[in-house]
């Protein structure tokens, strides 16, 4: 049962990552690429972590996985803000 959840969740996570990459390659301008990055790869990482957590052998591992996701979410929020502001400033000095 746990294995089925892992297969499903990790595949879903990979799907989001792939969507994010395609968007970063294909989207026409900086802001839409930024939008794609912050949505896709954090949800992607989230599903990946949920899937992997079902393989964990102890609660300690699950806690550290959760910490990784928390840090990634925090980093993504800050990164998106800063990059967007920088791009905006460069566009209209």
């Amino acid at each position: 049962m746990a294995d089925v959840v892992t297969y499903f969740m990790t595949a879903l996570g990979l799907g989001f990552y792939l969507a994010g990459t395609v968007a970063v390659i294909r989207f026409p301008d900086t802001y839409s690429r930024l939008h794609a990055l912050t949505k896709a790869d954090n949800v992607g990482l989230g599903f990946l972590i949920v899937g992997i957590a079902f393989q964990a052998d102890s609660w300690m591992v699950v806690a550290r996985l959760a910490l990784v996701w928390g840090l990634a979410l925090m980093a993504a929020g800050i990164t998106a803000q800063l990059i967007a502001r920088t791009a905006l400033q460069r566009q209209s000095p």
Binding site: L71, M74, I78, Q81, L82, R85
Partner: protein
């Protein structure tokens, strides 16, 4: 099936590492080169994981993706705009030198004699080293000479960085005066990161005696956290003339040397008695972590530059 997937992973990863290095060297835009170098460190960290070298992976990720990025972005912004990359005929001598040395090195690697390896020697003596992580045992016990000299090299580099300062700026705060919008994202991040970063830094130091981690990785993380605090404007860096700052930088090598001399009194310089090895290593590492963090952070910020910072 599993072996196939693993070999595939290694092949793809090696291709990515080589491609990223090539792009970082070849790209025309200077900022692009800097970003590609940071990305290169991420791939390299994955490579170290595959080679089973978790300690190196931690150091590579913390230094390459963290501190190097800070250092290079800062320097890039302070330098005149890109100069054109040579092309045409100028490329050939460089390409010949590169191809020749690459082929020679590859051939040398393939014809390496059957390795003896020091894994067994280290494993056999691990019991007397005081720690369970073999890499920490080598760094702080079996080959502590290297580590002692290295901690002094970090100090020497910091003195070199400071010696570039202009006379009128000396004595002030290192780097340029950082500022950020009050209550903005940068300022808040400078307040949010320290507790989490400090916790992870201490965890890495503590884990180092039994698992991957140790003074260098922990010191690097702490240095990155301190730099974010300074850049967020939450705190100004201390004056370069502050006595406590110099004490923190020197304390690591000094404690290391003192322990080494105590060893010399009882026979061997830097020799640790097996029954005292664990507390001694932990003491050296604890002090060294903060010295490494301070030296690295100050080297990355650079020399004092603002004459008005005199207080």
């Amino acid at each position: 099936m599993m072996a196939l997937a693993e070999t595939g992973f290694d092949l793809v990863l090696c291709a990515m590492i080589a491609t990223t290095a090539l792009l970082a060297i070849g790209v025309r835009d200077q900022f692009g080169a800097v970003v590609l170098f940071v990305v290169y460190s991420v791939f390299l960290g994955l490579g170290w994981l595959r080679l089973g070298a978790l300690d190196i992976a931690l150091a590579e990720v913390a230094l390459g993706a963290g501190l190097t990025g800070l250092l290079l972005f800062g320097a890039h912004a302070r330098l005149p705009a890109s100069v054109p990359v040579p092309s045409g005929r100028a490329v050939w001598p460089a390409a010949c030198a590169a191809g020749g040395s690459g082929l020679a090195l590859g051939w040398a690697f393939l014809t390496l004699p059957e390795p003896v390896g020091l894994q067994e020697a280290v494993a056999a003596n691990l019991g007397t080293s005081g720690v369970e992580n073999p890499v920490t045992a080598v760094l702080l016990n079996f080959r502590s000479w290297d580590t002692l000299i290295e901690s002094i090299v970090l100090l020497a580099a910091l003195i070199g960085v400071w010696s570039v300062a202009r006379d009128d700026a000396w004595g002030g705060q290192p780097g340029l005066r950082q500022h950020a919008r009050h209550g903005g994202v940068l300022a808040n991040f400078g307040r949010l990161l320290p507790p989490i970063g400090f916790m992870i830094g201490v965890y890495l130091f503590w884990a180092g005696s039994s698992k991957p981690g140790g003074a260098f990785q922990a010191g690097t993380v702490l240095a990155a956290v301190a730099l974010v605090v300074f850049m967020g404007g939450a705190m100004r860096p201390p004056l370069v003339t502050a006595r406590w700052l110099r004490l923190v930088c020197v304390a690591g090598p000094a404690v290391f040397l003192a322990v080494g001399l105590t060893g010399a009194a009882s026979g061997v310089f830097l020799g640790l008695r097996p029954d005292l090895a664990k507390p001694l290593i932990l003491a050296i590492e604890a002090v060294l972590t903060f010295s490494i963090a301070a030296s690295l952070a100050l080297s990355v910020i650079g020399p004092p530059e603002d004459p008005e910072d005199h207080v």
